[in-house]
């Protein structure tokens, strides 16, 4: 896999960076820092149980409020999003330097961060959904950042379609949830007295919301988009696809657990999906040689593990999930950024080709090793505490404990193997096959990975830094009940510790037999039916095939065909409606027919016959013109002067326009396949359309008329709008907005006609 930009061409200094990029960076960094400080300042208030609340009206009729609520869970995510955001922005500034789209990247990252912060702070579920979609869209733009690569474009589209599709399910689920619980506010839904779990729609609501969460958080069988999303640049992957966006689904499950959780459905859906995802993806991670892909698959594993532990409503499971969330954010982001440095400096991410990087990239290597040890779950890193909690809760979950224990041990053992590979084959040992002597990355690109790796160590040694202030409030929000949290490295010799020892042993074994293991996994993968990506491809092709088929059948390019469809559909639709709801007609209410009107109508009928049977174009057009003018005269007879003038003008212009076109064409050619049968069919459709139209018109004009509106206009036209011509006053004053819309339509149509006429079709085809 090629490096994203050519290494060794960038100067160490930052002077070459454009001012647009600097501005974007300054804005992004300032915003992130401000949010981070704001979150820090709220810690004490929130951990004592007072959330920060902001409400403002937005679309009150639809129950959409700008409702924000900062509680323990939102604070935890907010700190991760803004804190890691700061580090990623700084890292990106050093990573992209003079890249021509550097400014765009910084703005996109900033937009993403704001969307993500909005998502975790929304108290209104519709607002939450809007931010949810915004993260999907910014993720699409960021994955496709390198838009000249077709792989990046495909991955971006895939991420968009899968998470966007899940988003649609989520929207329906959230609306149903809102309807079922009679409130669109999360805080009210969760605090509601009547549990949603007993509502008749609960299974549907749960399914839809979980599809949304599973697609976003890359759960099996939707997991494949996440490894593909690694087409994004390293800092983007670090930020979106490990630390923040993919956790949105996890956030949603954590948030809704007090309301939707605690049932058999919830437990089995989450534990089975999460378990399969965790084990399958750790196996996939073992067979990769591209370190970024390894990390991507281990991210899927982490998301699976989190989902698995959210299945249970036990206190220890929630604690394990929250702790592991933090653990994972620290080590995964650090590793992604470190691998970004390796990629940038050596030009490869294949660990087969790399070795003993500590000699050339000492600081990057230290950061990577520390993070990898936390990933392996070894003491004294916070990863160890996270893993102990996972095992403790796996043992505590009463139903099917061995399933979850087995899944957790298997997944963690494979994490150990991967961590050992990183440490001993890439950073501290191993043989390098690259000839170049890489230099250490710039300071901007070292702060992030090093700080996060050190945090993983520091919080492991001093877990109380997080326990009371951040983890406890979040756990309380997930459980919906108060609890006490204490974390420590040493618990004595107990079940979890024994499991840990087993895990490390299996992990070490896997590490020493890695070639055998990955070959075995590859063999297994080849035997299994292809899932995920292939299915996605087939589905997409199927949709395209269907669309092409439909378009070819409907858009034949024949005007006759279109008109046949339009009028047949019109006749059938209205006829069906008329059968079910016949129009009542009382002909006594009809206005008497004047002799003038009768004469005009006779003329129009004659003209219609001429238009239909003539084989000369000009004659047909003129006959049509007579019909239109006849309508204008009828308007005049019944006193609608403005309408009559307009109709007359439009009719005249119509004849002129059509004549201009048709005069240049040859005489009516005999139509293909025209004949008695076809003429008969067209005639029947025309007559049927005429009859249906007549019935509608009579029905409308015979219905009793409500004159309230007419009276209003008559009374107010002169008094309020200073005009005696009511028609015009309606057009330019009372209903001016409608007119504005119509004028915009006229303008657009005219532009389109002009553009179509001016298109030069190249003889070789329309695209050249």
């Amino acid at each position: 896999m090629p490096a994203e930009t050519k290494p060794h061409t960038d100067p160490e200094a930052t002077q070459g960076i454009g001012s647009a990029a600097k501005t974007a960076f300054a804005c992004a960094l300032t915003t992130a820092i401000l949010f981070f400080i704001a979150y820090i300042s709220q810690i004490s208030a929130i951990s004592s149980g007072t959330p920060w609340v902001f409400n403002a009206e937005w679309v009150p009729r639809l129950g959409v409020e700008l409702a924000f609520r900062l509680d323990g869970l939102a604070l935890l995510f907010g700190l991760l999003i803004s804190g890691i955001g700061i580090l990623v922005f700084v890292y990106s500034f050093g990573y992209f330097k003079t890249h021509q789209s550097h400014a765009r990247l910084q703005w996109l990252l900033l937009s993403f961060m704001l969307a993500m912060i909005g998502l975790v702070s929304s108290d209104n579920i519709i607002l939450l959904f809007i931010f949810w979609e915004l993260t999907t869209i910014t993720s699409f733009l960021l994955v496709g950042f390198d838009h000249e690569s077709s792989k990046a474009r495909r991955s971006a589209l895939q991420a968009l379609l899968i998470t966007g599709g899940g988003g649609l399910c989520l929207l329906v689920g959230l609306i149903m949830l809102g309807q079922a619980s009679d409130s669109y506010l999360l805080s009210e839904i969760i605090a509601s007295e009547s549990p949603i779990t007993e509502h008749a729609h609960y299974p549907i609501i749960l399914t839809l919301i979980l599809i949304g969460a599973f697609t976003k958080s890359a759960q099996f069988p939707f997991h494949f988009w996440l490894p593909n999303a690694m087409a994004a640049p390293s800092p983007v992957s670090a930020y979106l696809h490990s630390a923040t966006m993919v956790k949105a689904g996890i956030y949603l499950m954590m948030r809704l657990q007090p309301s939707l959780g605690g049932t058999e459905e919830w437990f089995y859906a989450l534990s089975i999906t999460g378990g399969i995802t965790a084990v399958w993806s750790s196996m996939m991670a073992l067979r990769q040689t591209d370190m970024k892909l390894v990390l991507a698959w281990t991210t899927v594993m982490a998301l699976g593990t989190l989902t698995m532990f959210l299945a249970s409503d036990l206190r220890i499971a929630a604690l394990a999930a929250v702790t592991f969330l933090i653990v994972h954010a620290f080590y995964k982001c650090a590793l992604f950024l470190a691998i970004g440095n390796v990629d940038k400096r050596t030009g490869t991410r294949e660990y087969d080709k790399l070795g003993t990087l500590i000699k050339h990239l000492p600081i990057t290597s230290v950061a990577a090793v520390l993070a990898a040890l936390s990933m392996a779950g070894l003491p004294p890193f916070i990863g160890f505490i996270g893993k102990e909690l996972k095992y403790e809760s796996a043992l505590a979950i009463a139903d099917q404990p061995w399933l979850i224990v087995a899944a957790a041990v298997a997944a963690n053992a494979m994490m150990v193997a991967i961590a050992l590979t990183f440490v001993f084959r890439v950073f501290l040992g191993g043989q390098s096959t690259i000839t170049r002597k890489p230099r250490e990355a710039s300071i901007l690109m070292l702060i992030g990975p090093l700080l996060l790796a050190v945090l993983g160590l520091a919080t492991g040694i001093f877990p109380d830094l997080l326990a009371k202030s951040i983890i406890q409030p979040a756990v309380i929000d997930i459980l919906g009940a108060p609890t006490e949290v204490k974390l420590s490295l040493w618990h004595g010799i107990n079940g979890p510790l024994i499991l840990s020892v087993i895990t490390v042993a299996i992990g070490a074994l896997l590490f020493f037999k890695l070639t055998v293991v990955s070959r075995a996994i590859n063999n297994l993968v080849e035997k299994l039916p292809m899932l995920g990506d292939t299915t996605y491809e087939k589905l997409l092709n199927g949709i395209q095939w269907l669309a092409t088929g439909l378009t070819n059948r409907l858009q034949t390019g024949s005007l006759t065909h279109y008109l046949t469809i339009v009028f047949s559909a019109f006749v059938i639709a209205v006829a069906v409606a008329l059968v079910y709801q016949p129009v009542e007609m009382d002909f006594r209410n009809l206005t008497p027919v004047t002799p003038l009107a009768a004469l005009v109508v006779v003329l129009m009928i004659g003209a219609a016959i001429v238009a239909a049977f003539s084989d000369k174009r000009l004659l047909s057009i003129c006959a049509l013109g007579i019909i239109g003018s006849g309508v204008a005269v009828l308007f005049l007879v019944y006193g609608a002067i403005d309408v009559a003038i307009t109709q007359l003008m439009v009719e005249t212009l119509f004849v002129v326009l059509i004549a201009t076109v048709l005069i240049k064409l040859p005489r009516f050619p005999k139509l293909q396949g025209s004949g008695k049968a076809r003429d008969f069919r067209d005639g029947m459709i025309a007559i049927a359309a005429g009859i249906v139209m007549t019935i509608i018109t009579l029905g409308v004009s015979l219905a009793p008329l409500d004159l309230t509106v007419t009276q209003f206009f008559e009374e107010n036209s002169l008094a309020k709008a200073y005009g005696r011509n009511i028609v015009n006053v309606i057009l330019v004053d009372f209903r001016a907005l409608d007119t504005l819309g119509e004028v915009a339509v006229v303008a657009t149509a005219a532009m389109a006609v002009i553009a179509l006429l001016k298109v030069r079709v190249h003889p070789q085809g329309p695209h050249s």
């Binding site: 003008m649 005249t652 005696r724 057009l731 330019v732 001016a736």
Partner: protein, 139 residues
Amino acid sequence: MNSLIFSTISRLLVGLMLLFSVFLLWRGHNEPGGGFIGGLVAAAGIIVYGLAEGPAMMRKLLRVNPRTLVLIGLLTAIVAGLLPLLQGSAFLTGMWLFIGATDFDKGLALGTPLIFDIGVYLVVVGGVAGMVIALEEEL
């Protein structure tokens, strides 16, 4: 169309029709007429001229690109709608000036609806004339 009679008459007609279209636009608020009808009459005049003299002369007569005319028209209508916002009224509320008003007579009433109608007029003239010019040029 190479007809001397048609060509001569069309030059007379176009002037008359343009004048009449402005008259229709102006009186539209109180008598039958208005921006839409006025615009159609003006476009018809221009088209009669174009049938006699060809599309190049139509462009010359219009002086500006029809598409520009359409955009100016649309903008005029929108600006007429935005003006009342300045005095705190809703979008498209009528704002009026009464020049020379006495107790018995409103005098000369000028208002944003007239500006709005001028916008409509311009869109219709530009749109219809533009389509015909394009047709004449391309076919």
